[in-house]
Symmetry: C2
Subunit: 199 residues, 2 copies
């Protein structure tokens, strides 16, 4: 048992883990492939962590995959308090920024130290999107729903009236950290528009 | 780009990630806390990985948390082909062992090398349950649904007619890697039985 592993700390961790259960009820806009329901932020976070592990050979040199996986697992926990905001809703995203910062303090603050601080810093680093690890994790978070939509005949784009231009503009920075993947996706997006899967 | 990051390898990784989407449709017996639906294996895998990160201060010395998180993320992927089998259904679990081994080869085999081999070995190590990392990950996989059930008035135990003795016997080995947590849970299980949440 380390110095921080007291019975009180244990009860705090259990309370945190039970609170996390709520992320399974936060609905995203993306739908399961071939399925009628929307995905939730908990299963998305798992998918994103698997994306990080699987796409690691395509990551820029110097990426710390362990930190990226942690960011993927943590990145949407604030949605327990705030909910999910569509990535193309720029005004909506700006409006929730402060609420998300408060949610991060409340939720990670359920944990004992040093974990509370470590998780909060990782989440803040992810949100800032400046470090190499944060940029890789952020790029994956953008490109994964695009891939899901491409395999789902653009269902969520059609539902939200999204144009090819929006998808390209909003996600162009993916090319900085995952150039081969973004090159492939751009070609697929052109085809998708021809098929009428986005405006 | 590393030697393994060819365009073909990229397409293989994308095919693997899209196949993974199916884990979101595999239903477990555990229910969301306070909610009527069952959880699925994708969101459970995220919850388990978060459990590993959060309970790391309580882990035995020598645990490699990065490997444990990977195991948590990978451990149920075979259920895409095989489905989930209740942990208390011993005959059922034995019956699917070979199917799960084949599923692991098919699913991780969608990936290029060296990842296909690395993920398969990690899954096999998890299943064998002998290494320290596998025992810690396996203990977490047992104790997390117990905690969820304790916070859900024993709903899944009642639905599956589970007795206190079964929960204690089947999970006693959790005490080897997470002694403080299991000590706490055992006390809670006694109270749960008094409340009629399990037989």
């Amino acid at each position: 048992m380390t110095a921080t592993a007291t019975p009180d700390a244990l009860h705090q961790v259990i309370a945190f883990l039970m609170e996390l259960d709520k992320l399974k009820q936060v609905e995203r806009r993306t739908r399961l492939i071939g399925n009628s329901r929307h995905e939730n932020s908990a299963e998305h976070s798992w998918h994103l962590a698997m994306g990080a592990l699987s796409l690691y050979p395509f990551a820029p040199q110097g990426v710390d995959i362990g930190r990226v996986v942690k960011m993927a697992l943590l990145h949407d926990i604030v949605e327990i308090d705030v909910g999910d905001v569509l990535v193309y809703d720029l005004a909506g995203r700006e409006a929730v920024e402060e609420q998300e910062a408060r949610a991060a303090e409340r939720l990670f603050g359920l944990l004992p130290q040093p974990m509370a601080g470590e998780f909060l810093l990782l989440w803040q680093e992810y949100e800032a999107g400046e470090s190499l690890d944060a940029r890789f994790a952020g790029a994956l978070d953008r490109v994964l729903p695009v891939l899901q939509n491409l395999h789902n005949e653009g269902r969520s784009w059609l539902e939200n009236n999204i144009a090819l231009e929006q998808v390209i503009q909003r996600n162009a920075h993916v090319a900085d950290t995952l150039p081969e993947l973004w090159h492939y996706v751009e070609g697929q997006l052109q085809i998708a528009q021809q098929k009428g899967w986005l405006r």
